[in-house]
């Protein structure tokens, strides 16, 4: 079989996701008046960026055959920290720029710590990721609520502008962020031994172990990075909403799983990648914008997301069913 065909066959779910995304973008172009101006791309990328980054966090854990149900809470927590402390820190530091930088560092460290705690409990406690992260989701959500009992907070205008505006008045900042995550984070990661280990563990943990891969360390990395990228998503959310909401980001957990699966990464682990997840996240985010254009009542949003998810998965599975039913296994 030639290479392209093979590549296509292995990634057909991701290819399908990009197909749907393309369709949605065409519909956007037809409906959004300023689509072809510099505001068009800016608004598109701003809509997809947060979930796209959250999906990277989820991708890493799902590749190891795990799952992270605390991503929403970690986003909420980091969002609350950022929105609550950015102003006070800036005032103490005496300069807006220093304050923003310091807060960002604190927030990223908090994300790493939260993710590391998840990983440590899973690895050293030998517990199931799904339950551990469900429990820590509650803990992190509680801490967020403690920091910010009510939604609100202050976010400097400059900070919002950096992450949601345009660079040189043409390039959407969120597009640059996404590009950084794809080209400077995901690709190198995929090509590192850590990346290879993630796939190996998800494919067959015992095989990976006897091949000399450090299972514990790899999983710790996966969950710690998941925390770090959730913090990145939290920072982006802070810029977009210009405020902090301790509980408002809980949807990111399930949406990130949906995005990852929509992009062809198997919950059974070891298969898939981030590119598909970006497409998945974009679909889930943009379809909402499309419904608003069409004046569809917001009631229907969830149903549309759910139906897209099921249809995409069913189409992706069709050839498999044929084989399955022939083999009559299962």
């Amino acid at each position: 079989m030639n290479n392209q065909a093979l590549l296509f066959r292995r990634n057909k779910e991701a290819v399908l996701a990009f197909g749907i995304l393309l369709l949605i973008l065409v519909l956007f172009a037809l409906n959004q008046n300023d689509f072809f101006t510099r505001y068009g791309p800016q608004s598109i990328f701003n809509q997809v960026i947060t979930l796209s980054i959250a999906s990277l966090a989820q991708t890493l854990t799902v590749l190891t055959k795990g799952i992270d149900l605390s991503i929403g809470s970690m986003i909420g927590l980091t969002n609350s920290i950022a929105a609550t402390y950015m102003e006070p820190i800036s005032q103490k530091a005496g300069s807006q720029a220093a304050g923003i930088l310091l807060t960002v560092i604190i927030v990223l460290a908090a994300g790493c710590l939260a993710g590391f705690i998840n990983g440590a409990i899973i690895v050293y406690g030998r517990l199931q990721p799904i339950i551990v992260t469900l429990a820590t989701a509650s803990v992190y959500g509680g801490i967020a609520l403690y920091i910010r009992p009510t939604p609100g907070g202050m976010v400097p205008y400059q900070y919002t502008e950096i992450l949601t505006g345009r660079i040189f008045d043409i390039l959407p900042a969120s597009a640059v962020v996404l590009a950084v995550f794809i080209f400077l984070v995901w690709f190198p990661l995929r090509r590192s031994s850590l990346g290879q280990s993630l796939y190996a563990i998800g494919g067959n943990e015992y095989s990976a172990f006897v091949s000399g891969i450090n299972i514990d360390r790899t999983k710790l990395w996966a969950y710690t990075l998941s925390g770090l990228f959730s913090a990145c998503a939290g920072l982006l959310l802070t810029a977009q909403t210009a405020s902090g909401d301790p509980l408002g980001s809980s949807l990111f957990t399930l949406n990130s799983i949906a995005a990852v699966v929509l992009g062809g990464t198997s919950l059974a682990g070891g298969k898939g990648g981030y590119m598909g997840a970006v497409a998945g996240a974009s679909i889930l985010s943009l379809v909402l914008g499309l419904l608003i254009f069409w004046g569809v009542p917001s009631f229907y949003q969830n149903a549309v997301q759910g139906v897209i998810l099921l249809l995409a998965l069913s189409v992706g599975l069709l050839p498999k069913i044929k084989i399955k039913s022939l083999q009559r296994t299962g």
């Binding site: 031994s193 095989s207 091949s211 450090n214 009559r328």
Partner: protein
Amino acid sequence: MDKVQEKTAEPNAPLLEVRNVSKSYGGVKALIDCDFSCGAGEVHALLGENGAGKSTLVKILCGVVKPDSGTIRYMGEETTIDSPIDASRKGIVAVFQELSLVPELSVAENVFLGHEPKTRWGLIEFKKMKIWTDHLFQDLGLTISPESRVADLSLADQQLVEIAKALSREPQIIIFDEATSALGSQEVELLFTLIKRITKKGTTAIFISHRMDELDRIADRATVFRDARYVADFDWGTVGKDQIVHWIAGREVEETFPQKKPHSNETALEIRNLTSSGNFYDINLVIKKGEIFGIAGLQGHGQSQFLRSLFGACPITEGHVIVNNKSIILKGPKSAIQAGISLVPEDRKHEGLLLTRSVKENLALMTLDKRQKMGFIDGTSELNELHHAVESLKIKTSNLEQEAGSLSGGNQQKVVIGKAILAEGDILLLADPTRGIDVGTKSEIYQYMSNLAAQGITIIFYSTELPELVGVCHRVAVFKQGRVTATFSGEEITEHHIINAALGVA
């Protein structure tokens, strides 16, 4: 205890020396004060029944488990082997019986898993990996594409990749843990050539196999284990087979096969033009009531799929299965069981047993619907019936609530057989039921089969071991490339005939 300490071929100190090593899992002792040593460049066979301690020793040597006590001397220095990474660094690698490949990764990625070539930025060089794998495969004479996904390969090819993966680490000691079990004869030849080549360069090969004929061809030395203890070591060829078997079994093993009893002339099962495309083609057989019908052939020539098809677990594309003069439609295992056919599957741990459930639940699993009253289980009658099975199969279990996974391999297999027997079918399909089972249990199973046949149950017996086919079957059909190429009966059933038919030699 017998101990033979012949002079070794190598005058120097051994390459690897293990002294007084013990290991227990929970309360079960897997190795007790074991000694083992091997020299550079030799092919060293490890012999023993399953559970004798061979696999545990192998796991210790490649860092998968840590010994509880004892010392390891390697290249003249005392050392410990802390992890698979450590073992690999020291030059000890293993080819496992249960493959250690990651199915979703490519062949090249698997070969270099854990020691990928990297740029100075720490990034993996996929191109280099592919080229190196290509070179390695050319060198080994393999024709597998480095880019294909392991999950898409045949079992034999996967085994070869596994071997290549081990060799790519340029080991000092390479351990083959029943590595030939999935290979066809050609691949075995290839493997033996490889082993001879690397041992000539000074690499040591430790070889675990149950096939004496294979060991005759390559082994230089051997060590025997029994009941978690070291028994003897000797130069291959200096000790007779009887003595070896005596060491392995710990008792004189006489003729283990029961007398073949005559069977009725009534037709129990007729198979007409049965085809499962891609697996086997145009099978025509008439099998009598009470007959033990053997299925032979090299591994992977459609035998296991044939059995699965008869059980409704593999698609039939053409042909008929006629049981007691009635053509039956096999929609799935359930319809097969209803038609009186039951299967003991090949893979005990993954297809036969619920390891974490009780012996009781396992035994009753196939017959739940038979014993139900309005969907409820009749506990008393179930228990009585199960006791019966436990008794007649001599399953050693402390009570029926014991977890099936905690039984020994032989007893686990007996539970799987008991489950199928309880279905009270007329036809029993056995897929390699004695694989990885100790000699004692094997002969118990043969006796049991013979009793069943005497009761009028028809048995189709697929096996990878020729002696047992010869020993218990009334007739044997040989599969080659999915077709029955020969059928032998009575005195014609000899290992020689079967091998010739399987290889396609006239």
